[in-house]
């Protein structure tokens, strides 16, 4: 046990000198720095295009059993829409399974018989929308597009509407291949979590275990620096770097994909810092318990990156995980952060709805910081 009899005041330069040195390390290792800064941007672009929410060249099949003036007008309208390409017009639904299986059509619009006369009577014309939802996100988006074209068409008919009240066109829709749809446009919050985990947990683990491997850590421990000061000195630069990268990702996502940020930016950034602290502590824990850079890297990948990618709900919705796995996700910090980030960015909600998740993260941060400092102290012998 260390029980200093007398605590001398140390000038602030002690920790400052250490942080400066850490910044030098980061700035001098240009290759790593370039990777750290560019990778999130590349990921934003990759994720953005892979999970593109605006779809061009949507292939539309129309089933029109009884062509007439009204169906003709609708078809012209569809063909004139820039995003759509009318691939086939068929009198029967029999062709549809094959069209979808061959992937020659993304969406089919099944019009009722005697469309024009139904509309003329002022009755509701039932239209069926069939969508290839093997990718649920694009499936939803495609439906939204077609619905909006139909809505425009409806508005066009408004003037000639003989009977008020009843809707002009009733749309029934069917999602093929995946009836339970999960919402889209969620990749940016997940991406921030992933990148922050990478920068903070992985990089801290590597940088700390490198000092362990080189023997410089021993020299630091023999110095008057206390273990917590070494940890703070190690993590502060990565905290700053993580903050910068978060801003970078948000800006890139906004410029390239118009990802919304409806809530408070300050709150989002504050929550990001909290999440970074959790990840950093994990990184320190990993470094304290491993003896080489390689082991620390593997440990950080398996211990932090994988859970963040797989168990946070970032890609795979937690609700569709097996029952026994769902409670496990509660210990994954990113799970809570993603709920927070999605809430702020997409729903525009504030701390009044997110305090529970924030409290969980804060608790984790506190617990892990204490554990990391202790572990760091205990595993050096």
């Amino acid at each position: 046990m260390i029980t200093p009899r007398k605590r001398m005041r140390r000038p602030p330069s002690t920790l400052g000198a250490f942080v400066t040195k850490e910044l030098h390390h980061i700035l001098r290792d240009r290759q790593t720095l370039a990777i750290l800064l560019l990778m999130p941007l590349v990921q934003v672009l990759l994720f953005g295009y892979a999970l593109r929410t605006d779809i061009r060249d949507l292939r539309v099949a129309v089933v029109d059993p009884t062509p007439d003036v009204a169906t003709q007008r609708l078809r012209t309208r569809l063909a004139a829409t820039a995003r759509f390409r009318l691939v086939t017009v068929s009198p029967t639904t029999k062709v549809l399974p094959e069209l979808f299986q061959r992937r020659t059509a993304d969406v089919a619009i099944v019009l009722p018989t005697s469309f024009a006369s139904t509309l003329g009577r002022g009755d509701t014309a039932q239209v069926l929308l069939v969508t290839d939802a093997s990718d649920p996100n694009t499936g939803t988006t495609m439906q939204v597009y077609v619905r909006s074209v139909l809505a425009d068409f409806e508005r066009e008919l408004e003037g000639a509407r003989p009977r008020a009240g009843a809707p002009i066109i009733g749309i029934a829709s069917r999602m093929r291949f995946n009836p339970t749809l999960e919402s889209a446009n969620l990749f940016v919050p997940g991406l921030i979590a992933l990148v922050l985990t990478l920068v903070s947990a992985l990089m801290t683990a590597i940088s700390l275990s490198r000092e362990k491997e080189l023997g410089t850590l021993e020299v630091l421990l023999v110095s008057p620096l206390r273990p917590w000061q070494i940890i703070v000195g190690k993590v502060v630069p990565y905290l700053v770097l993580g903050f910068a990268i978060t801003c970078l990702v948000l800006t890139a996502a906004r410029i390239a994909f118009h990802v919304p940020l409806r809530g408070s930016v300050t709150l989002l950034l504050a929550e990001s810092v909290l999440f970074t602290i959790v990840s950093l502590s994990l990184g320190v824990l990993v470094a304290a318990r491993t003896s080489s850079q390689r082991a620390a890297m593997l440990g950080a990948l398996v211990g932090t990156m994988m859970p963040t990618a797989l168990l946070s709900g970032m890609i795979f919705p937690i609700t569709s995980m097996p029952g026994w796995l769902q409670p496990v996700t509660r210990i994954v910090p990113a799970r809570w952060f993603i709920v927070i980030a999605r809430g702020i960015m997409l729903k525009g909600i504030g701390i009044e709805y997110l305090w529970r998740e924030t409290a969980v993260l804060a608790g984790m941060a506190l617990l892990l910081l204490v554990a990391a400092t202790r572990s760091f102290h205990a595993h050096l012998d």
Partner: protein, 250 residues
């Protein structure tokens, strides 16, 4: 024994023991080192030298016995011990991707020197080591011998009462080792106690006193000439080989 250092004793070790499970790495060693003395701490690999040093510099808690370094108990006042010692490990302790000046500034800052003091020491240090032209060169591109002299100078930058050198001259040429020992003498003459481990037995001859550790115990302790006389040996190397062999045979 409380309070400050007793007179001129920089290191006082009494029955210091460290066990790992059933293995006793350091077995009740006792010795004193006077202020300004150059004390050689010899022993074969695995004899327990590193464990003993780690206890003396406050990195490892003793299982039994006590040790006071610079007047502070290593078990209960490790923080004060750390503030009053310098340490140069056998592994290279400077940061290769930082410049000479940045390394000096870092350690100066860690030991709480003021900016002016750091600036002054840096100037003195590069002058003494003839590193003026390389002060803004990254450490990785200066020769090993200079790196070691620099590492030593950085370890005593804050004028510690005791400096621990753990195999400081590994892998350098005899001339550089010679220069290194000149630095050690200068430091000791200024009043800093030097506690050094080495594999080079010619270096042991440079020490004021040496101890030889075998299997966790100190089996010989004295000035180089005393030991040579005692074991009727021509060199410390002979003394060492005889003792180490006896230890291995036992």
């Amino acid at each position: 024994m409380t309070g400050s250092a007793r007179g001129d004793r920089s290191i006082e070790v009494d029955g210091l023991t460290r066990r790992f499970g059933t293995f006793t790495a350091v077995d009740a060693i006792s010795f004193d080192v006077a202020q300004g003395e150059v004390f050689g701490f010899l022993g074969a690999n695995g004899a327990g030298k590193t464990t003993a040093i780690r206890m003396l510099i406050g990195l490892l808690a003793p299982t039994a016995g006590s040790a006071r370094v610079a007047g502070y108990d290593v078990a209960t006042q490790a923080e004060m011990v750390k503030r009053n010692i310098g340490y140069m490990s056998q592994r290279f302790s400077l940061y290769e991707d930082l410049t000479v000046r940045e390394n000096i500034t870092l350690y100066g800052g860690i030991y709480g020197l003021s900016d002016e003091a750091i600036e002054k020491r840096t100037a003195e240090l590069v002058d003494r080591l003839d590193l003026r032209d390389d002060v803004d060169t990254r450490v990785k591109s200066i020769p090993l011998g200079w790196k070691q002299k620099l590492a030593f100078s950085v370890a005593v930058l804050h004028d510690p009462k005791v400096v621990f050198l753990d195999e400081p001259t590994g892998g350098v040429d005899p001339i550089t080792r010679r220069q290194f020992w000149e630095l050690i003498y200068t430091t000791a003459a200024a009043g800093t106690t030097v506690f050094v481990t080495t594999h080079y037995m010619d270096e042991a001859e440079y020490c004021d006193r040496v101890s030889i550790m075998v299997d966790g115990r100190i089996v010989a302790l004295g000035t180089p000439s005393e030991l040579k006389a005692q074991y009727e040996a021509r060199t410390i190397d002979d003394v060492f080989v005889r003792l180490a062999r006896a230890g291995n045979a036992a």
